[in-house]
């Protein structure tokens, strides 16, 4: 023991030391809790404030009873109609419904459960999470491995993708950067992964710059009067704050409590949730999304049903313009939400167009949640966050590996599972308005809505036009390209130089040309030939050196990940967009996409001005500074295939865009389509014929094997029976 230790260990000094440490810790905690959030908000230019909602009003007990009676009647009527719906005679049906509705056991069973709870607890006003948490402070969570645990409800939801739209750690699927590294693999520097920090070609913006916007539209019907419309990412996310959960992107820090108060529990949990309450409101602090906080919605709270999920998710499945999108029929009692007429995926989940929806399955039957974490499955290409990356969501979980039971050729059909995903045969087409090529740079005036909208150069839901078939092993690239390879180990299958970068279908070429000619009327600078070439052959935008580099990176970095695991042929929706890009951060697979400011875009159609406005947002400016570069952007660029790290040259100099060019992404994105499942699969000859929908050569089959697959002698024997197989529901 030396002298120093001796001094230290005298009781007096030890006590002093203890006090110092305690005070130090306390100060640190104070700094973290009180000072850090303020500094952070100032740094990224975001605000937080207590949130109030006009429709969160107390009601009297009498009103509660009246509401309870009505809601109970509604619920009973819906249940009764579902049961007696088969009776052909309308009058008989009505009488039966009435009888059933007044049957004692039926009444007990179908009264919304929370009416009683609210009455007993004397809850007469719904005040958001605060109200729910009175009883549900913690919940029991059953995990997929059979464990159960008790979790803090608020924590659970705040850390779920639905709130923070990002996940750290693995982030989900096996996404590979074009540099060959798996994104957020062990040992790499983790970056937040999800919609929060991705400028995406379809919505055209970052969630930071496009969270909530009020757009002044001038619809034809209003004869020049201004109508305010709502737009922005926040319409589909449960945070009610002025911004997405930016704090969650940082290594420390949490979303402030006031922001958590804005969580919209009811949009997922209430059967009577009114989507007409979902619109943008402006208050002293800024713009944010309103939500339904009425007692009416609160009284019908329960487990999430398909209807709840589709409040938002039909938007990216069937699309806003989809005939059976219920949420799109309740656009807001004021500031109506703008509809996105081009569909992102075009594969709806609804009884009319999906067999599972028709069978009454709930979303959570396949996407089985653990508390508020909901699995997306282990396969995916879009680098979107995933709460439960290890949980499987797949057809065979229910259907087994021998799903066909009725057809005479069931064994043959089952045999195809080896190479073909179920979706390949059981999704025959996407919605017609499925967007394939979207030009954000040359918007078109939409007279009916009174706004400028991005021009969809090509839309189609048809096979090999709106979607195509690729080998897929569950891996994807950083820009949403499916990875996989023919199990024969082909070196010719090369989607990033073929299927995803070349449109050769003469019909599509003609349609694109026609649109280009149309656009030229508004934008005389357009060179039609060059326009068509760039849109349908995006690699033409690369220099020969960049092309060589691309080739090299594909061979050296991605080939191995294409050969991983077991690949099967899946359908993929194709998508490309022309957007403004920061050419200082360009690589052989694309450059940093710049976001649009929605209001400027829709109101003026001046796309350059819209970009300028968006990148003036403080958080985009921060992105072009050293701390963000080091924390995130260098890694981001490496995955993106851009060498030399993130260049912090801010693309706005003296009010002008600097080194920014409109470009098509250098390859089409490929999005998985898994809904809109049809009971009747494809006929054999749709693939097994010389003019079939599968291009076997491009899929890496040898000449001989391709010929064999195109001309199967036995297919002829199947002809009469194939129609039988067509009635096979599996």
């Amino acid at each position: 023991m030396n002298a120093f230790d001796k001094i230290l260990l005298t009781p007096k000094n030890a006590r002093r030391l203890l006090v110092t440490v305690a005070v130090g810790l306390l100060v640190l905690l104070m700094l973290y809790k009180a000072v850090y959030p303020i500094l952070f908000d100032t740094y990224v230019g975001k605000s937080n404030a207590p949130l109030t909602y006009a429709n969160s009003q107390p009601i009297s007990e009498k009103e509660l009873e009246a509401m309870a009676t009505e809601l109970s009647l509604n619920a009973r009527r819906a249940a009764a109609e579902a049961i007696v719906g088969q009776d052909a005679n309308a009058f008989a049906r009505r009488v039966k419904v009435e009888m059933l509705m007044n049957t004692q056991s039926f009444m007990r069973e179908h009264e919304p459960t929370h009416i009683k709870y609210f009455r007993d607890a004397n809850i007469l006003q719904y005040e958001g999470p605060k109200t729910c948490l009175q009883c549900h402070a913690t919940i029991q969570v059953r995990h997929h491995d059979g464990r159960t645990s008790e979790v803090d409800t608020l924590d659970d939801i705040v850390n779920s993708v639905h709130f923070k739209f990002q996940s750290d750690g693995g982030g989900g699927f096996s996404t590979y950067g074009y540099d060959g590294r798996r994104v957020n693999a062990e040992g790499s520097r983790p970056i937040p992964v999800g919609k929060i920090n991705r400028a995406c070609g379809i919505p055209g913006s970052f969630s930071w710059t496009g969270w909530a916007a009020l757009v002044e539209s001038r619809p034809e019907s209003a004869h020049g009067e201004v109508a305010l419309r709502s737009e922005g990412c926040g319409q589909c996310h449960i945070g009610g704050n002025y911004q997405p959960a930016t704090e969650k992107m940082m290594p420390i820090g949490d979303v402030p409590d006031v922001a958590k108060e804005g969580i919209d529990c009811l949009i997922c949990h209430s059967t009577e949730y009114d989507m007409n309450q979902r619109y943008v409101i402006r208050d002293d602090v800024g713009l944010r999304w309103n939500q339904d906080r009425t007692m009416r919605a609160a009284l019908t709270v329960g487990r999430s049903t398909t209807k709840n999920c589709l409040n938002c998710h039909q938007h990216n499945m069937g699309g806003d313009a989809y005939l059976h999108n219920e949420a799109a029929k309740a656009l807001g009692e004021k500031h109506q939400r703008l509809l996105h007429t081009g569909a992102k995926r075009g594969n709806p989940f609804s009884p009319q167009d999906d067999l599972h929806a028709a069978a009454g399955l709930q979303c959570t039957d396949c996407h089985v949640p653990e508390g508020h974490k909901i699995p997306r499955g282990r396969m995916g290409v879009d680098l979107v966050a995933n709460d439960l990356p290890d949980v499987e969501v797949s057809c065979v979980t229910c259907h087994s590996t021998a799903p066909h039971n009725r057809s005479k050729h069931k064994a043959l059909l089952n045999g195809h599972l080896d190479r073909i995903a179920c979706e390949t045969c059981h999704i025959r087409a996407l919605q017609d308005n499925n967007v394939v090529l979207r030009d954000w740079v040359h918007p078109t005036w939409d007279a009916e809505e009174g706004i400028f909208t991005p021009t969809d150069i090509y839309r189609s839901g048809e096979v090999n036009k709106g979607f195509t078939f690729l080998w897929f092993n569950g891996n994807g690239t950083f820009l949403a390209n499916a990875l996989g390879n023919n199990p024969n180990g082909s070196t010719e299958y090369d989607p990033l130089m073929q299927q995803l970068v070349r449109i050769e279908d003469p019909e599509i070429l003609a349609a694109v040309r026609e649109q280009a000619i149309e656009l030229k009327k508004t934008y005389p600078d357009i060179d039609v030939d060059a326009y068509v070439e760039a849109a349908t052959d995006p690699l033409s935008q690369l220099t020969p050196e960049q092309l060589d580099e691309r080739r090299r990176m594909l061979d050296q970095n991605l080939r191995a990940h294409m050969n991983d695991g077991e690949s099967r042929i899946y359908p993929f929706k194709l998508f490309n967009a022309m957007m403004y890009e920061d050419m200082g951060n360009q690589g052989p697979f694309g450059a940093m996409i710049l976001p649009f400011d929605y209001a400027t875009y829709y109101e003026t159609g001046d796309t350059a001005a819209s970009v300028k406005q968006a990148i003036r947002d403080p958080i985009v400016q921060r992105m072009y500074q050293e701390p963000f570069k080091r924390y995130m952007m260098d890694e981001f660029m490496a995955y993106f295939g851009v060498s030399g790290g993130w260049k912090t040259d801010y693309p706005l100099v003296d009010g002008e865009l600097n080194n920014v060019e409109p470009k098509w992404m250098r390859q089409m994105g490929s999005l998985m389509v898994n809904h809109g499942i049809q009971p009747v699969g494809r006929d054999c000859v749709e693939c097994h014929s010389p003019s079939g929908i599968l291009n076997y050569r491009a899929l890496g089959y040898s000449q001989e094997r391709a010929a064999e697959l195109e001309n199967l002698d036995i297919v002829e024997n199947l002809r009469p029976a194939a129609s039988l197989s067509a009635t096979d529901g599996g």
Binding site: S400, A402, L412, N414, G415
Partner: protein, 344 residues
């Protein structure tokens, strides 16, 4: 076709049924006799190998043509049957019936060069296939009967053994329809090769039994509890080594539990019956690889003899070597000392 059949059939006739399963306890505890039997079998093996090599050559053009024809036939069938998920759910039992054939497994099997229609009716060549096989289709003995005139124990014997086996005589509904194919998948069947790691052979053979007798290996199973080190036995001894008659060489006569071998000494002795069975494969391997000397020194032919641990074997050998060295050193020392003394 006969040439082909001979080729594939003969190694099968050799009695290590290999991948498949059931079996016997053979051997005769007697020692010299066992060795003789073993010698006899290896002779047969060499003869077979010789016949195999010889038969291919004289076949000539006609043989090539047949081979090509058979290959084309297989290719046609495998277009579908090589799909690993070719299967259907039996409407009665709801179980998934697997119709797939492993391409590589078939290629390496004894039947790998046959045309599919050699065993399956010609009408199977077209799709859709007949609903069920005709009587006489896929009958092993039917094809193999003539193969073994020169063997002391042939297909007819195997047939007879099988008919005495518990699988054939049991009244249990589970045993209904038991046939050669229940254990021997003709699309994978291949005799265990001499020199193959024993553990592999044990795993393959027992895998066949356990594909039906699944409950045996469930974690809660108390089966075979009387056996010390049960799990160790299961990984190093084949089921058939105990579950066929000890005295006769009847490895297709699977015995019911109560009649099976329970005498430890049958194996754990200086001249164990396992020598004539499982370790048969290893002896051959030893001879080939390490020579008789090594075998004598390491005692490995000895099955699970006195020292079951190669490490112990090596250790004792090392100690022995050291002793010899010490003795030698001592001797040399004494010799030198003596010489020095003498000189002095």
């Amino acid at each position: 076709m006969n040439a082909l059949r001979n080729r594939t059939a003969r190694p099968g006739a050799q009695r290590h049924p290999d991948d498949p399963c059931p079996p016997p306890t053979t051997g005769r505890p007697g020692s010299t006799k066992t060795r003789l039997v073993r010698l006899g079998w290896s002779l047969v093996l060499w003869l077979c190998l010789f016949a195999f090599g010889a038969s291919a050559e004289p076949a000539g053009d006609a043989g090539d043509e047949q081979l090509a024809e058979a290959a084309a036939d297989r290719h046609a069938c495998l277009r579908c049957h090589a799909m690993s998920s070719l299967a259907y759910r039996d409407p009665e039992t709801s179980e998934i019936i697997d119709l797939s054939i492993d391409r590589d497994g078939l290629a390496h099997s004894v039947h790998g060069e046959l045309a599919c229609i050699d065993c399956h009716r010609r009408s199977y060549r077209r799709y859709p296939h007949p609903d069920r096989p005709a009587p006489g289709d896929m009958d092993c003995i039917g094809c193999h009967e003539g193969d073994d005139q020169n063997l002391s124990r042939g297909w007819v014997d195997i047939d007879a053994e099988f008919k005495r086996s518990v699988h054939a005589v049991s009244d249990s509904p589970k045993a209904a329809g038991f046939s050669c194919h229940s254990c021997h998948d003709p699309h994978r069947f291949r005799p265990a090769a001499v020199g193959e790691p024993l553990a592999q052979i044990v795993r393959n053979h027992n895998g066949v039994c356990l594909s039906c007798h699944k409950r045996l290996v469930s974690p809660s199973s108390t089966s075979h509890d009387w056996l010390p080190n049960r799990d160790a036995h299961w990984t190093s001894v084949r089921c058939v080594d105990c579950h066929t008659p000890v005295a006769d060489f009847a490895n297709h006569e699977i015995l019911p539990a109560e009649k099976s071998e329970k005498n430890c000494v049958s194996c754990h002795s200086a001249d164990p019956q396992l020598l004539a069975r499982l370790y048969h494969f290893q002896s051959e391997e030893d001879i080939a690889r390490r020579g008789l000397l090594a075998k004598a020194v390491f005692n490995e032919a000895y099955v699970v003899g006195m020292s079951k641990s190669p490490a112990l074997d090596r250790l004792s050998l090392a100690i022995m070597g050291l002793m010899v060295l010490l003795l030698a050193a001592h001797g040399v020392g004494r010799y030198l000392a003596r010489r020095a003394n003498r000189r002095a």
